[in-house]
C-alpha cells in the first residue's frame, strides 16, 4: 500500500539524490595483515603494527605491519632470489602472468573499488570508474610489451631487466600507483619490493592476494608496509632501482641519499599546474574541465589544475559559472555513488590545507566556498576558490594538494605561457580554446610533461606521464615507461 508521498507545498521539489551507498559487504577485511614477502604473508621482524583507518569515519579498518630495516632487507633478498628465474622465463610466459593479474583485477573490480574508497576517502564513482579500470589496463598494456621489447628501442641492443626495483608510492591513487610501478617492472623482467603509503596499505595487500591467485612465482613481487622510515630503508637497501612518486621534498631527499650509489632513479613529484582558459573556449566544457582539474580526488592530484588562468574578457562569466557549479558539488560519504568530493586523506593533510588556505586569506586573496554540510567525524574540506590571487601569493606558488583553486587573469598568449611556466614545477598544464594552432603553439612552449587541451586529467597506460623541472624525471606509461626498467647490452643505459 502506498504511503502518502510528500508533495511540495509549492515551488521547491523534494528532489534528493539517493544516498546510494555502495555496500561494503563485498570487502572482507582481516584484523591484521603481515608483510607480503616471498609469496606469503609473514609477521614483521620489527614486531610492530599500526592501525589504518577510514578517513571519512575515522574508524580503524585493520592493523598492518610496520617493516623495519631487517624486514625490508628480507623482502629485497626474496626479490633478489626470485630474479634469475623470473628473468629467465620465456618472455611470452612472463606476459601471461601479467595478463592474469590484469584479468583478476577486472574480476574483483568492485571489491577493490569499495576498499579503495574506504581506506583512502575518494568517491566510489572515481575508484570504480577511474582508478580500478586504469589499474587493470596498465597491467594489460604492459603485459603485451613483455615479449616485444626488441621493438621498443630499436638499435639499442638487447634489453635486459635492471634487476630488483624498490618502489615507493603515494596515498592519492593507491592501487593505480601500484599498477603504474609494478606493471612495467614485471613486464621488463624485474622483481620488485613495493612500499605502499602509510595511510593507504589495504588495496596493495589485496593486490598481493591477486598476485597469489595468479601464481606469480614467490618473491617476484613483495610488499612492505610502513611509514617514512620503511621507505628510507628501501631506498638504502640493495636494490638496483628506485621509483618514487610523492612530494618534491621527499623526492629531493631520495635523490640526495642515492647519490653516488649507481642506483637507477625515477621521480614523480609535485605540481602546480596552470589551467588556461581563453575567451573563445567552449566555456561550459571548460567549466567542467576546471572543476574536474581541481576537485577530482579532492585535489589530491600531483597534476591537478590548481591555478586557473583566465583570459580577462571572460573572467566574470567563467567565475559566475564556477561558483554556480561549486554549489552543485556533493561533498560527503565516499561510498555514496552520488558523492563528487570525498574525504581528505588524513588529519595531517587537512591541517596542511587549512594552513595554506589561511595564508591565502591572510595575503589578501578573496575566498569563496559553497555552503554545504560536512559530516562530524572524518576529515573534510569544502571546495574552495580564491580570486584576487597574484603569482607571489603562497596559494599560487605552493602545492596545496587539496580542493582549493587559485584564480588569476591574463590578457595575451605570451602572458599566459609566462605565468604558467613561472614555477619550479612542471608536471602538467591545461589549455582551453577553440583554436587548434594556438593549442599546438602553447603546447610547444609550456614547460610541462603533460599538456591537456580542451580536456583535463586524462590518463591512459599508453600515454607517457611525468614532469619537467622539480616535478621529477622519468616517464610512466607508454613505450617510454619501459625505459627506466631496462638496461641494454653494449649501449648507453
Amino acid at each position: 500500500m502506498s504511503e502518502a508521498i510528500e508533495r511540495p507545498a509549492s515551488g521547491a521539489p523534494p528532489w534528493e539524490y539517493a544516498s546510494a551507498p555502495e555496500s561494503t559487504d563485498i570487502v572482507r577485511l582481516d584484523d591484521r595483515y603481515g608483510l607480503f614477502i616471498g609469496g606469503e604473508f609473514v609477521e614483521p621482524k620489527s614486531g610492530k603494527w599500526f592501525a589504518t583507518i577510514s578517513p571519512s569515519t575515522e574508524e580503524t579498518l585493520a592493523e598492518v605491519a610496520e617493516a623495519d630495516v631487517t624486514d625490508v632487507a628480507l623482502a629485497v633478498d626474496a626479490a633478489r632470489d626470485a630474479a634469475p628465474a623470473w628473468r629467465g622465463l620465456a618472455p611470452a610466459e612472463r606476459a601471461k602472468y601479467v595478463f592474469r593479474i590484469a584479468r583478476q583485477l577486472q574480476e574483483r573490480a568492485r571489491e577493490f573499488a569499495v576498499l579503495e574508497s574506504m581506506n583512502g576517502g575518494k568517491p566510489i564513482k572515481e575508484s570504480r570508474d577511474v582508478d580500478i579500470p586504469l589499474a587493470a589496463a596498465h597491467f594489460f598494456y604492459y603485459a603485451g610489451w613483455a615479449d616485444k621489447l626488441e621493438y621498443a628501442f630499436p638499435g639499442r641492443g638487447t634489453p635486459e631487466p635492471v634487476g630488483v626495483a624498490g618502489q615507493i608510492i603515494p596515498w592519492n591513487f593507491p592501487l593505480l600507483m601500484a599498477a603504474w610501478k609494478l606493471a612495467p617492472a614485471l613486464a621488463a623482467g624485474n622483481t620488485a619490493v613495493l612500499k605502499p603509503a602509510e595511510t593507504t596499505p589495504l588495496t596493495a595487500l589485496l593486490l598481493a592476494e591477486v598476485i597469489q591467485e595468479a601464481e606469480l612465482p614467490p618473491g617476484v613481487v613483495n610488499i612492505v608496509t610502513g611509514a617514512g622510515e620503511t621507505g628510507a630503508a628501501l631506498v638504502d637497501a640493495q636494490v638496483d632501482k628506485i621509483a618514487f612518486t610523492g612530494s618534491t621534498e621527499v623526492g629531493k631527499i631520495i635523490r640526495r641519499s642515492t647519490a653516488g650509489s649507481g642506483k637507477r632513479l625515477t621521480l614523480e613529484l609535485g605540481g602546480k599546474a596552470a589551467n588556461i582558459v581563453f575567451e573563445d573556449a567552449p566555456i561550459d566544457q571548460a567549466v567542467e574541465g576546471v572543476i574536474n582539474g581541481i576537485f577530482f580526488n579532492q585535489g589530491h592530484v600531483c597534476c591537478a589544475g590548481s591555478r586557473l588562468l583566465v583570459q580577462e574578457p571572460v573572467f566574470d562569466a567563467l567565475l559566475g559559472k564556477l561558483k554556480d557549479r561549486l554549489q552543485t558539488l556533493r561533498v560527503g560519504d565516499p561510498l555514496d555513488k552520488n558523492t563528487d568530493v570525498g574525504a581528505i586523506n588524513s588529519r595531517a593533510q587537512l591541517e596542511k590545507i587549512e594552513e595554506l588556505v589561511e595564508s591565502g586569506v591572510g595575503e589578501g586573496a578573496e575566498i569563496y566556498q559553497p555552503e554545504c554540510l560536512l559530516p562530524e567525524r572524518g576529515f573534510w574540506f569544502r571546495p574552495t576558490l580564491f580570486t584576487g590571487v597574484s603569482q607571489s601569493h603562497r596559494i599560487a606558488r605552493e602545492e596545496i594538494f587539496g580542493p582549493v583553486l587559485s584564480i588569476l587573469t591574463f590578457r595575451t598568449v605570451d602572458e599566459a605561457v609566462e605565468k604558467a611556466n613561472n614555477t619550479p614545477y612542471g608536471l602538467s598544464a591545461g589549455i582551453w580554446t577553440e583554436k587548434g594552432s594556438r593549442i599546438l603553439h602553447m603546447a610547444q612552449r609550456l614547460r610541462a610533461g603533460v599538456v591537456w587541451a580542451n580536456t583535463f586529467n586524462r590518463f591512459d597506460p599508453a600515454s607517457p606521464f611525468g614532469g619537467y623541472k622539480e616535478s621529477g624525471f622519468g616517464r610512466e606509461g607508454g613505450l617510454h615507461g619501459l625505459e627506466p626498467y631496462l638496461t641494454f647490452d653494449g649501449g648507453a643505459p
Binding site: Y141, G144, K148, A462
Partner: protein, 285 residues
C-alpha cells in the same frame, strides 16, 4: 551398457556472426590425413563470398573505430576461449596429420596472445611525429586498410590460419577468409570460438570450400582492399595478383619461416595491411 551414439557437428560457413549453409546448398567431404571420412563441410559459392564481403564491410566502421585497447581485450578473450577448447582443436589437428597437436594448439594460442598485445602499441612503434621544416605539427598514424581477403595456408591449418588472421584484424581490418581446402575443420572451430568471444559479427568471416573456385572472386572483388595470398597455390598466383590490380589491392604473402618460429610473427605482418596517414597543422598563436 549400450554404446552411446554421439551427436555429430554440422560444419557451416561463418558470415556476419552467423553460421549459414552455403546458398548453393553444396557440401564436400573432408577426409583425415589417412583418407578416412571425417565430415561434410559447406562448399561456399561466389555468392557466399559476396555476402561475406558485405558483412566485412559493414563491420569495418565499428571495428576500426573501437579503441585499440578494446580490440586488444577482445583478442585476448579469443585466446581464453581457445584455451578452453584445446581438446577439440587437438583432435582436429590429429585428424589433419599434425605430428604434435598439443604443441600446435599451444603455439596457436600464444601467437594469438602475442598479436593481441600489439593493438595498443603499434602506433607507438610504427607511427611518428615528423620534424618538418616549418611551424607545423606533423604526425603520422597507422590506420587499417579496410576489408582484407585472407587465403589461408593449405597445411598448418590452425597455426598457419591464425598467423594470417590475427595480424589482419588487430589493427582494425575486417576479413574474409578462405579456409584450407583439405583441412577446414580447425577454421570452423575457430569460427565457433570467435562467435563466443565478443568479436563483433562480420569482423572475421570464414568460408570453407574449393580454393581455386573462390580465390578469383576474392582477388577481383572491388570492395576488398587487401589480399593475403599465403594459401594461394603457386600456379594461381600470377592470375591472382593480376586480378588484384583492378582496384590496386595491397597484396602480401606470409614470410618464409617455420610457423612455430618467432620469425613467423612480427608487427610488420600487421603493417602489411595498414595505411599511414600524415596530418599537418600549423602552430601559431
Amino acid at each position: 551398457m549400450t554404446d552411446r551414439l554421439d551427436v555429430r557437428r554440422t560444419a557451416k560457413l561463418y558470415i556476419g556472426g552467423a553460421f549459414p549453409r552455403s546458398e548453393s546448398g553444396r557440401s564436400y567431404e573432408v577426409t583425415t590425413h589417412e583418407g578416412g571420412p571425417l565430415a561434410q563441410v559447406s562448399l561456399a559459392s561466389r555468392k557466399d563470398l559476396r555476402e561475406a564481403v558485405v558483412a566485412a564491410r559493414g563491420a569495418f566502421p565499428a571495428w576500426s573505430g573501437a579503441t585499440a585497447y578494446l580490440r586488444g581485450q577482445i583478442l585476448y578473450r579469443v585466446a581464453e576461449m581457445m584455451e578452453g577448447r584445446r581438446a577439440q582443436f587437438e583432435s582436429e589437428l590429429a585428424d589433419a596429420g599434425a605430428a604434435d597437436p598439443a604443441r600446435g594448439v599451444s603455439a596457436t594460442i600464444d601467437r594469438w596472445v602475442w598479436y593481441a598485445g600489439w593493438a595498443d602499441k603499434l602506433a607507438q612503434v610504427v607511427g611518428a611525429t615528423n620534424p618538418v621544416a616549418g611551424p607545423y605539427f606533423n604526425f603520422t598514424l597507422p590506420e587499417p586498410t579496410g576489408v582484407v581477403g585472407v587465403v589461408a595456408p593449405g597445411d598448418q591449418a590452425l597455426l598457419g590460419l591464425v598467423s594470417r588472421v590475427a595480424p589482419a584484424i588487430v589493427g582494425g581490418n575486417t576479413t574474409v577468409v578462405v579456409a584450407s581446402e583439405r583441412s577446414p575443420l580447425p577454421a570452423v572451430s575457430l569460427a565457433e570460438v570467435l562467435a563466443t568471444s565478443d568479436v563483433p559479427g562480420g569482423v572475421v568471416n570464414i568460408l570453407t570450400g574449393r580454393t581455386a573456385e573462390l580465390v578469383p572472386w576474392l582477388a577481383s572483388h572491388m570492395d576488398v582492399n587487401g589480399l593475403d595470398v599465403s594459401g594461394v597455390p603457386d600456379e594461381l598466383l600470377t592470375d591472382t595478383e593480376r586480378a588484384a590490380a583492378e582496384n590496386v589491392k595491397r597484396v602480401h604473402r606470409a614470410p618464409d619461416a617455420d610457423p612455430f618460429d618467432d620469425a613467423a610473427q612480427s608487427p610488420y605482418e600487421i603493417t602489411a595491411f595498414t595505411e599511414f596517414k600524415t596530418v599537418w597543422h600549423p602552430m601559431g598563436a
